[in-house]
Amino acid sequence: MAKQLRFLNWLALTGGILFSANVLAEDWPQFRGPYAGGASSKAKLPDAFDGEAGTNIAWRVPIPGRSVGGAIVVGDQVITTTSDGLEQRRIRLLSYDAATGKQQWEQQLVARGRPYCHPTSANAAPTPASDGKHVVAFFSSNDIACTDLQGNLLWYRSLASDFPKAGNDVGMSASPTIVDGVVIVQIECQGDSFALGVSVTDGTTVWKQERPRKANWASPTSVVLPSGKSAVVMQSSQDLVAVNPSDGKELWKIEMGCSTTPSTTVANGRLIVPSGGLTALDLSSAGAPSKLWFENKLNSTACSPLVDNDKIYVVNRTVLVCGDLFTGKVLWQLRIPDANQIWSSPVIAGNRLYLFSMDGTCAVISLDGQEGKVEKTNKLGDEVLGSPAVSGDAMYVRGAQNLWKISAK
């Protein structure tokens, strides 16, 4: 019985409906939410909004510089980063009151690593992370800073100073995650290529693991194993590896070619791995997970896959593809009208999927019927590359130039 309860608890923690219920009205503490699922199924968001007219825009805050990462929500704070100034060397962490949009505090440092990136990207590319007590901001330049929720600097590291060949002039973008008191960053490039575990308390190195020396922009994914213990899964074009976040020890490793932009999703005891299509792996057994299925039609170009209500959603260029979580069978496809490039991973709230194009056009897709249907196409009036955060009945969107709160209230 205890074993059964533990298994049910594990299923709850690893995604699906129970997970979605858990995060309702709670924090959105990292890239794609609490458990890298990216869904908040019961949030009530407006289907229509307009950035210029202000329709269902609770507030908008212009932020100097540029960001392509998402915002996070911790309690009543919305926290985001930006990079500006000469060569985007000024790296900033900013906190706003979720209710009013009023700025609460700002931290501002100078990038010691290489701030260079493709014009599409920004030094402020990774989404920050929080464990509810600390806020960790990581930048393409491999500068990493940690503050408390009041903006006091707790520690700072320049990983480019520690490892001078770490970096990529296209721009790095893997977001950090915090698990069991350890900040995990994945820095994979042609030079110094590694994953690092850093104490969230004082910034000291807990562990370091060498990684393939190839460019990679995917983020580490935190998962809960059947044993109840945490693990961090990292993907590359050569492997999929799970490590113990506390000491960096490898738990298992599968040699497989994973995608290097969209990140792995965890749901209902399965790892959903972008891999030139999607590979579903069974997490329920001990040791390396076994393959459940592979479907090359579920190809995700840049956005990370999203799972909700036993369905998987991927974005292949400008086509939303829905598949069955258990079989990988493609259920329907929907071309997104007026979409140009799409970088922002979608979110689901209620029975709607919200998908932003880079030009700030948001397709709101109804998931009520047998097939997805575009319900509304909304213009935000800001570039959007980061994934939205959903908290309560609001969606917080980090545009390249502004932070937006979209809410019917």
């Binding site: 000469l86 505090w105 600097l153 320049s158």
Partner: protein
């Protein structure tokens, strides 16, 4: 003379007594170095103590940035920001700090932002007199502001060109002068090396010869380069190439018929009137190594991740007379359309980015 000034500054710093923090505590932040876990832990512990005491003044932390390590400056900047969030320094004190060119450049720019973010009028007033500011960040913004009018007289553009250091800004001014009928030799203005001799292609199939020492390298170090070397497809000889690109770019793909999986060496010479500390700045989309007078100064085994002016920077010392520069440029075998370029640019300038008077 410089030593004396530095010494006096250090004595002055050590003798400053702050009510909110001791010089010894500030020194702990100032000296944080890379790969120093113990230093990070100590700094973190002290940062938390100061945060709990809640009496640190932002300008105290900013003053301590002068002469600190790069990492130390960020620790102090972080403390200063938090202090400013809680107890903003007075406008008069901030203006006084910003007006003092002797303070740390990054600290002054931080204060500039505190004073002017959200206040366009104040920003414009400050920037109108800061085009020669020693802070690169302030100078960049001041010149950008000065360039806003669509029409500027030639004298004003020339003056801004003399002040500007950021490559894109310099290029923009040269283009505006060009439109006004004033021709500037852009490559010369930047100090790009345009006269080269190349030899190759040598083998780099498998992209694993970055550290392979072909005979060109020891011969260059020994200053006895031969006229010919065995290479990828038989013996090769040196060929002269003069770049006419305004940014000094040398297109090796064009020169070597889009060869892939190869290495090309290039040599250039510069004549310096005196010994001078300066910088070698390189932009290259391929893996590359550079030597100056026999010493390896730049090495980056990175292929096709972008290229821009001043992408890689090395502090070097030129001797009086002829100085010899060797570059090794490696091309891999990627087939992607975006991975076909085989190109580099190199320039020599002072630490601010201004070209030296070299021949």
């Amino acid at each position: 003379m410089r030593m004396v000034v530095v010494g006096l500054l250090m004595i002055g710093f050590a003798s400053i007594a702050y009510a909110d923090v001791t010089p010894q505590q500030l020194e702990l932040f100032r000296k944080v170095q890379p790969s120093d876990d113990a230093g990070v832990a100590q700094a973190s512990k002290l940062a938390k103590e100061l945060s709990a005491r809640n009496d640190l003044q932002s300008l105290t932390a900013l003053r301590a940035m002068k002469g600190a390590s790069g990492l130390g400056k960020n620790w102090l900047l972080g403390l200063a920001n938090a202090a400013q969030n809680k107890r903003p320094a007075s406008k008069a004190d901030l203006e006084s700090f910003l007006s003092s060119a002797n303070e740390d450049s990054e600290a002054r720019y931080t204060v500039f932002r505190w004073l002017t973010d959200g206040d366009a009028e104040a920003r414009n007033q400050w920037l109108s007199r800061m085009t020669e500011d020693p802070s690169p960040e302030i100078r960049y913004e001041a010149i950008a502001k000065a360039l806003e009018p669509a029409e500027l007289p030639e004298a004003a553009l020339r003056s801004l060109l003399d002040s500007a250091r950021q490559p894109e800004q310099v290029t923009a001014i040269i283009e505006r002068l060009d439109k006004a009928g004033v021709k500037i030799d852009q490559a010369k203005h930047f100090g790009f090396l345009t006269q080269w001799k190349f030899i190759g292609p040598f083998d780099n199939v498998g992209s694993d010869k970055f550290n392979t020492v072909y005979p060109v390298e020891p011969d260059y170090v020994a200053n006895k380069l031969a006229d010919s070397y065995p290479a990828k497809a038989g013996a090769v000889t040196w060929q002269s190439e003069s770049s006419s690109d305004r940014e000094g770019a040398v297109d090796l793909a064009k020169l070597y018929n889009n060869e892939k999986g190869c290495i090309v060496y290039g040599v250039a010479e510069v004549n310096s009137p005196s010994e001078v500390a300066c910088e070698l700045r390189v932009g290259c989309i391929n893996a590359q190594k550079l030597w100056v007078n026999g010493e390896l100064v730049i090495a980056n085994e990175v292929y096709h991740t972008g290229m821009q002016v001043d992408q890689y920077v090395a502090q070097i010392k030129l001797k009086a007379g002829v100085n010899r520069i060797l570059i090794k440029v490696c091309q891999n075998e990627q087939k992607d359309a975006w991975a076909q370029r085989y190109i580099f640019q190199a320039r020599i300038c002072d630490s601010t980015g201004k070209a030296l008077a070299l021949k």
